[in-house]
Amino acid sequence: MAYSEKLIDHYENPRNIGSLDKNAEDVGTGLVGAPACGDVMKLQIKVGPDGLIEDAKFKTFGCGSAIASSSLVTEWVKGKTVDEAETIKNTDIARHLALPPVKIHCSVLAEDAIKAAIADYRAKAKKEEPKEAAE
């Protein structure tokens, strides 16, 4: 299978590998996929006081396309607001990396991973609000 240069670059030099403190209030964690299906993505975002995503990290178990898709989205979400990040579509990821048809599911998983990370961040933020009000 011939992969695009961009995909190979992300596979060979993945950006933002690592983990953030999943218990921190300003960190949202998304864990999607399943080992039995051959791909699992963990994507984390750290949201600054200004509402912008200031850091993003990933770890992926999966094929080269899955690794590249998750690496790419960590680059894309940085500097965006949570709402903006939520608009990233799997088709944008697939187009950017020129994913072959059998690998489209990797981009779907990456989109799911951002959405899951954002949902986790929002759930934490909601829990925080009543506390702040009480003070």
Binding site: M1, G33, P35, A36, M41, K59, T60
Partner: protein, 412 residues
């Protein structure tokens, strides 16, 4: 031993996929060459020297093939390869004896060409039993015994598995089949020339052989068909009645000669080659285990050809690993490269869990594999497995002591 130590050019990746195909031995090519050029006669031409010369060559080669498996040369017919041999053996026997018996027994880990042939026969009304294998990949003989009925015409069990290299207990299977008066066919594509085979001692009635798995040419194979007691077949290809009527079509003299020579070399060198490969296999496994934890060899390690290793590198997906080890040509049990995202059915049949099946590689060693290549392969594998584990969320969780089975994964 062979004087040839390297067959690959330095700019080519290291070839570690000997179960997919083997390079042709240069000695094989040498004996084939004249039959492409001035010795071009049709072995079926009885009226002139060109034909006689070609006939003599294909008959000599037939003898060389027969010798490798302890058969008589009259019992060997040429085919286009093991796929055709398997088709002819199974369909040929099933259709010839269908008025008396209609039951075939095989195993779930057979090559696709056996399984697909059996599926076809099922559609024609035959009954097929697909026996499971044990966790080590080997057939349980009691399970085989229990499956045989008075309607069973044929048992087809591969000699050596193409993915995991395990050797089935052929002599024991042959004995059981003979006791029950059931024909025994074995797909020996991965076994011929690698392990000693004897159709008499093992009570084998039909055996499929492939040229390109034993350093011979592609496009040629053979089927051994026992004469005493006689096995009868319905032919699949009609025509001039070549090959005792079992397989019409002009014989490809250069390919036949090549297969013969490949068998001749294997007969002479098999013992020494197996010893050398066993050392390389051990060297590779030791090298990997010295630097990596959580690696599992799939399939029995003892009842196995020395030229195969099928290894699961836990927490690292096989295809991503293959993408990293660019300098090594191996194959993946994750099968993610194909359109289906299913992991290998052979590994699944051993009870290897899907997540482990996704992390497996098949590494094939062979005649031209060197120690240096093995060492390079170990280094590359260690480097990339380590790199990919560092970015694997599963590895991270395992290191934290989280039981991956305790997590509710959202399957997709």
């Amino acid at each position: 031993m062979t004087a040839i130590t390297q067959i690959r050019r330095n700019d080519q990746p290291i070839y570690l996929d000997y179960q997919a195909t083997t390079p042709m031995d240069p000695r094989v090519l040498e004996v084939m060459m004249p039959y492409f050029t001035h010795k071009f006669g049709n072995p079926g031409s009885r009226s002139h020297a060109y034909g006689w010369e070609a006939e003599e060559a294909v008959e000599k080669a037939r003898g060389q093939i027969a010798k490798l498996i302890g058969a008589d040369e009259k019992e060997v017919i040429y085919t286009s390869g093991a796929t055709e041999s398997n088709n002819l053996a199974i369909r040929g026997v099933a259709e010839f004896y269908k008025d008396r018996k209609n039951h075939i027994i095989t195993t779930v880990t057979e090559h696709k060409c056996v399984l697909d042939t059996c599926r076809h026969l099922e559609q024609q009304g035959f009954e097929v039993t697909y026996l499971p294998v044990q966790q080590n990949g080997l057939l349980d003989l009691d399970v085989l015994r229990a499956a045989i009925t008075d309607k069973t015409v044929l048992v087809s069990v591969m000699a050596v598995n193409n993915e995991i290299g395990v050797i089935q207990p052929l002599a024991e299977i042959g004995k059981i089949c003979r006791e029950h008066k059931v024909f025994f066919h074995t797909d020996a594509a991965q076994a011929a020339g690698k392990i000693p085979l004897d159709v008499e001692a093992m009570n084998i009635d039909l055996m499929s052989i492939s040229g390109h798995k034993i350093y011979g040419p592609k496009g040629i194979g053979a089927l051994y068909v026992r004469r005493k007691p006689r096995v009868r077949l319905v032919a699949m290809i009609y025509g001039g009645g070549q090959e005792r009527g079992f397989r019409s079509g002009t014989l490809p003299t250069p390919l036949c000669v090549g297969l013969g020579e490949a068998c001749e070399i294997a007969t002479k060198e098999m013992g020494a080659e197996a010893k050398r490969l066993a050392k390389l296999q051990e060297r590779m496994l030791k090298g990997l285990r010295a630097k990596l934890t959580d690696i599992v060899v799939n399939g029995d390690l003892e009842q196995r050809i020395p030229g195969n290793l099928n290894i699961s590198f836990a927490y690292v997906e096989g295809e991503s690993l293959m993408m990293g080890i660019k300098n090594l040509s191996v194959s993946s049990g994750s099968a993610c490269t194909s359109a289906s995202l299913e992991p290998s059915y052979v590994l699944r049949a051993l009870g290897v869990e899907e997540e482990m099946a996704h992390t497996s590689l098949r590494i094939g060693l062979g005649r031209f594999t060197t120690e240096h290549e093995v060492d390079t392969a170990v280094d590359e594998l260690v480097r990339h497995v380590t790199k990919l584990r560092a970015m694997s969320p599963l590895w991270e969780m395992a290191q934290e002591g989280i039981d991956l089975k305790s997590i509710e994964w959202a399957a997709h």
